[in-house]
């Protein structure tokens, strides 16, 4: 029974390709009825209990396939709603409009948008649709150091830091901050956080049915985003200590981190990499940072912003200060992150 027949066939726990998003949302709602409510018609995950009067509403959204992002982060102390697009496809303005109206508690709504052309354009249109009626602010996350932020790209992608923005801005909103203040917090987190990721395998977009890219047995794709898109370069598979270095170095230099700085270290799995490996990767990251005298004050390890079943990991570092630590530690109760409550 030793293996002989390798394969990259699509094998997923699904009924039909078109049912993936609605059924996954239905499952999320059925598993966490105390936390979320599903607006199936709009493919929007809403915080159970409806909008909180006087609280700034936080919404995010994007293509599906990144679970638990964003629907798994709806709940107390984080998002008020998440719009689910098709797999790797930005949701449409109608969804965002519906979500914005649903979460408005009179204090305005913050749109947290990952920097991809599709997400940005659709959220922009949604903001226009509710303009004048509901005060909307938008914060675009763009933390991926693998992409040059230049005239020659669509700008850095929004990746891991988005999770941290949702948590920390969510805590600020829960504490009663104004729309301007919540937006400022989100901008600060985005500004102080950077990420980079790599893939050991591709993933299969269900509607496509085949892997998005092909990797040799000994190759890794470095500088990937979260949509299965190929990365910036290809390298030979290496010990994880080295691979962690490929990711941590550009982040540390981009953030200008130096001895004595305090960070939150977030080692994120791409969906198909199990925890045993993610903790090994975290160990590598901790060794590298420790060697440079950078203090890990908070950490997060797990599959939080994924690319379907892709194997691989990303590292996000967020420069901390007392304010951010306090907001990070504040209670959160969502399907995917929970503490203090």
């Amino acid at each position: 029974m030793a293996a002989t027949a390798p394969s990259h066939a699509m094998k997923k726990l699904i009924n039909a390709v078109d049912d993936i998003v609605p059924e996954s949302l239905a499952g999320l709602g059925a598993a966490h009825p105390d936390v979320v409510r599903i607006d199936a018609a709009n493919a929007v995950v809403l915080r159970a209990g409806g909008p909180k009067a006087g609280k700034v509403g936080l919404i995010s959204g994007g293509g599906s396939g990144h679970e638990p992002l964003h629907g798994g982060f709806v709940g107390l102390g984080m998002l008020d709603a998440a719009c689910a697009g098709n797999v790797f496809t930005s949701p449409v303005p109608d969804q965002m409009e519906a979500a914005t109206r649903a979460v408005d508690g009179g204090a305005g709504v913050l749109h947290i948008v990952k920097n991809y052309t599709g997400d940005v354009l659709n959220f922009q249109m949604a903001a226009e649709l509710v303009g004048g009626e509901i005060e909307v602010a938008s914060v675009v996350t763009n933390d991926d150091v693998a992409v040059q932020d230049s005239l020659y790209t669509a700008g850095r992608r929004g990746v891991g830091v988005t999770v941290l923005v949702e948590k920390i801005a969510g805590a600020a909103a829960e504490a009663g901050a104004s729309l301007a203040a919540v937006a400022a917090t989100a901008v600060k987190v985005n500004g102080q956080g950077r990420s980079m990721g790599l893939a050991l395998t591709s993933c299969i977009v269900p509607a496509a049915g085949t892997p998005t890219f092909a990797l040799g047995d000994d190759e890794v794709e470095v500088g990937i985003g979260i949509h299965g898109e190929p990365g910036r370069r290809r390298e030979k598979l290496a010990p994880v200590d080295d691979m962690a270095e490929w990711l941590v170095s550009p982040i540390v230099s981009d953030l200008g981190l130096t001895r004595g700085d305090r960070v939150l270290a977030f080692v994120n799995g791409m969906g198909g990499t199990p925890l045993i490996e993610l903790y090994i990767a975290f160990n590598s990251v901790a060794k590298i940072l420790g060697g440079q005298g950078i203090a890990i004050e908070r950490s997060l390890v797990g599959n939080y912003i994924t690319s379907l079943e892709m194997a691989g990991f990303s590292v996000t570092l967020l420069r901390l200060d007392d304010d951010l630590v306090r907001l990070w530690d504040a209670p959160v109760h969502t399907p995917a992150l929970r503490w203090g409550v």
Partner: protein, 216 residues
Amino acid sequence: MLEILDTWLRTAAERIHAEAPHLTELDQAIGDGDHGTNMDRGFRAIVATLDGRPAPDPTVTDQAATAELLRLVGRTLISTVGGASGPLYGTAFLRASAAVAGLAEPATGAAAIGAALEAAATGVGALGKSTTGEKTMLDALVPAATAARSAIDSGANAATVAGAARDAAQAGAEATIPLVATKGRASYLGERSIGHQDPGATSAALLLAALADVVA
């Protein structure tokens, strides 16, 4: 005009459906592998809209009804496609609608195609903050609009104008192959985007090929 638009949209929907795997394959190479699925979803929605539409109001001119349908198509694409191409193609149709509505009545088919294409290309560039040479749908739309205008200026009829637009779009789409993408998802690849045809430019060329066939 309205009838041709209806026929074109249905023909385009069939072509898009047939070519969806190819569009997706192109998007797998330099994007995220969903362009075919996205466009197919949008055009299926358009056909559903066409099927569900009440009979044209006899008090409305053909040109106004055409403009109104173009607007409906734009809204449908925005509401169903998602991704980058949804707002971009949606805006293209919204702008085309305004352009057709703005022409002195009764406009010729050639004039309508020319005005619609120019407005569409301008609208996409404005929303996408993009221009030609960036390896996007604009590399098909802009040459198509230019070729249509030249044909019109030399007195061509609708069929010839549509044919010129089709040829220019096709050439423009193929010419994206050696380009480095600097907009959209493909731009993340930098130099690695060279050697692949842009999916959005390809779908644009496909739509214009359908138009030329329908108008012919």
